[in-house]
């Protein structure tokens, strides 16, 4: 899923300062699952914002709404009913959602409430870790199902650097050395030989190197 984390309150308060009525929009997909922007967080943030302004003697009217997905225009359309009653929108979705709202409602300022972080998995309840950088050309088949691009600090494709100690990355001992993981995994699978193959330099065009990406499924295009 796409993970996100709420921005510092100060930043949120600052960007809403010019407004009196806003719409706070959650998203029932990834950000709900990573507890950053679902209905519950919308409720909490709404209260927090109102209190923060009340404290300054100002009333901020917050309308709460949570869409099924903010990255689909049909769902975003649901905001139409509310949008005229507010001066600005704050979205708790990932960057996709924020942009979708901005695209649909050209005259309303939209602010992100969260920092969109990465594509990750939940390691355990309450802990999410980066697993994929969306490079567009998956190497996991070569690396035992562990991504060196997302999980090695240096994105090394041919093995660990000289700094890995006890299976941990030199950058931060809390980070597992991706190559240690890859190697352990290859060994467990009896695929040690895979390591010996030199992986050629990557074609980053499939990643961000080729500019903003787009997927077109001809058969589905309407």
């Amino acid at each position: 899923m796409i993970t996100a984390e709420r921005k510092p309150m100060e930043e949120l308060i600052e960007c809403l300062r010019p407004y009196n009525r806003i719409l706070l929009v959650g998203c029932n997909e990834c950000v709900t699952v990573c507890s950053a922007g679902g209905r519950k967080e919308v409720g909490i943030l709404s209260s927090a914002l109102q209190m923060a302004f009340m404290k300054e003697g100002k009333t901020l009217e917050v309308k709460e709404m949570t869409l099924e997905r903010q990255c689909d225009p049909e769902y975003v359309e649901e905001l139409v009913i509310q949008i005229d009653q507010v001066e600005a929108v704050m979205s708790m979705a990932c960057g996709c959602g924020v942009q979708e709202i901005a695209r649909r409602f050209k005259t309303k300022p939209v602010f992100p409430a969260v920092n969109t972080e990465f594509m990750g998995a939940s390691e355990r309840p309450g802990v999410w870790v980066e697993r994929c950088q969306g490079c567009g050309d998956c190497v996991l088949g070569l690396t035992g199902g562990i991504c060196p691009i997302a999980r090695c600090s240096k994105r090394l494709l041919n093995g660990p650097c000289g700094g890995s100690t006890n299976g941990k990355c030199e950058v931060d001992p809390d980070i597992e050395c991706a190559w240690q993981l890859i190697w352990d995994r290859l060994k467990a699978l009896g695929l040690e030989d895979r390591y010996e193959e030199n992986i050629a330099a990557k074609d980053w065009r499939t990643g961000r190197g080729g500019g903003p990406r787009k997927i077109i499924r001809e058969d589905l295009v309407k």
């Binding site: 240096k154 994105r155 041919n158 093995g159 890995s164 950058v171 240690q180 330099a201």
Partner: protein, 309 residues
């Protein structure tokens, strides 16, 4: 001979090669590097010039190499994959070679996390193995990495680093093999203090016959104080400093510790000379360059062979 590199010629001569290194200054004046390089003249075959070492901004390695070259010495251009993408790297290689710089050391580089620009994007367009491959292809196939032909291909003698100690240990030999496969001509290793473990590594290297495909130069770094020894042991990732070394350093009074450090280095060189596959030594005296000549001398590595430039 693949190249004009002095280092290649020393290896070819069958003599043990000696290299050392110079860090470019953190400023726009060349005096410092010239002064440092001069100290080494006559004692080493080539001088590594680091590239934003420890992820701290310094004068570019290329520029510093030019100054050393002007002193009539042989520089080794270090380049890391961290700061440049493959375009910039190839461009710089062409430029360096055009200035007569014909030896390179390919590294991935320290992570920006450790340096003075932790906020910098780390490029890592390609990794060090791919880097070696790229230079080899430029040299031998005359092709840019993208596949186009090079009009006058640079003939670089290609070096790479190896750390015999980092984890997973069993991967260290295989990792070396990959670098050799990619086209590495010589290897400079991480500082060696744990001689037993290094020898074990070399055993692995010999088992696969890699010592015949590449010239391995163990890194030697004298320690000034017991504090430095402890720092290396505990704080430098991938460094293996056995407790005996610490004990030995701690066992002498503070003022005698530098001498003890040098002694340890000299003894190491003497012991490793005998190891099959060791083709030279990379003597790095960090912020203590003046001691390199003494070590080289006491280790019996003098005189250096004269190579025609």
């Amino acid at each position: 001979m693949k190249t004009e590199s002095v280092l290649e010629k020393v290896f070819a001569s069958g003599e043990l090669a000696v290299t050392s290194e110079c860090g470019p200054p953190r400023g726009a004046v060349p005096e410092k590097i010239i002064e440092k390089a001069k100290m080494l003249k006559g004692y080493v075959d080539a001088v590594n010039v680091t590239d934003n070492q420890t992820a701290m901004v310094r004068m570019s390695s290329f520029a510093a190499c030019v100054f050393i070259k002007q002193l009539g010495m042989s520089p080794i251009l270090q380049m890391v994959t961290r700061d440049r993408n493959r375009l910039a790297m190839q461009a710089d290689i062409l430029g360096a070679y055009s200035h007569g710089i014909d030896t390179m050391l390919c590294l991935s580089g320290d992570h920006p996390h450790f340096g003075d620009h932790p906020m910098a994007a780390n490029v890592h367009d390609i990794d060090s193995v791919q880097f070696v491959q790229m230079i080899k292809d430029m040299r031998d196939k005359g092709k840019f990495q993208g596949g186009d032909d090079i009009l006058n291909p640079p003939k670089m003698f290609i070096g790479a680093a190896a750390n015999p100690f980092a984890d997973p240990f069993e991967l260290r030999v295989a990792r070396l093999a990959k670098k050799i496969n990619a086209g590495t001509d010589f290897i400079q290793t991480q500082c060696i203090y744990n001689l037993d473990k290094f020898e074990k590594w070399m055993e692995g290297v010999r088992d696969r016959g890699l010592h015949e495909k590449v010239n391995i130069m163990p890194g030697i770094t004298p320690m000034k104080t017991v504090g430095m020894a402890k720092y290396m042991k505990n704080r430098v990732p991938g460094m293996d400093v056995p407790d005996e070394i610490i004990k030995r350093m701690a066992g002498v009074p503070k003022e005698k510790q530098p001498e003890e450090g040098i002694k340890i280095s000299v003894e190491a060189i003497e012991r490793l000379k005998a190891v099959e596959g060791v083709k030279g030594f990379h003597v790095m005296a960090i912020e203590w360059e003046q001691k390199v000549p003494e070590i080289v001398e006491r280790a019996g590595l003098l005189p250096r062979p004269t190579i025609d430039l």
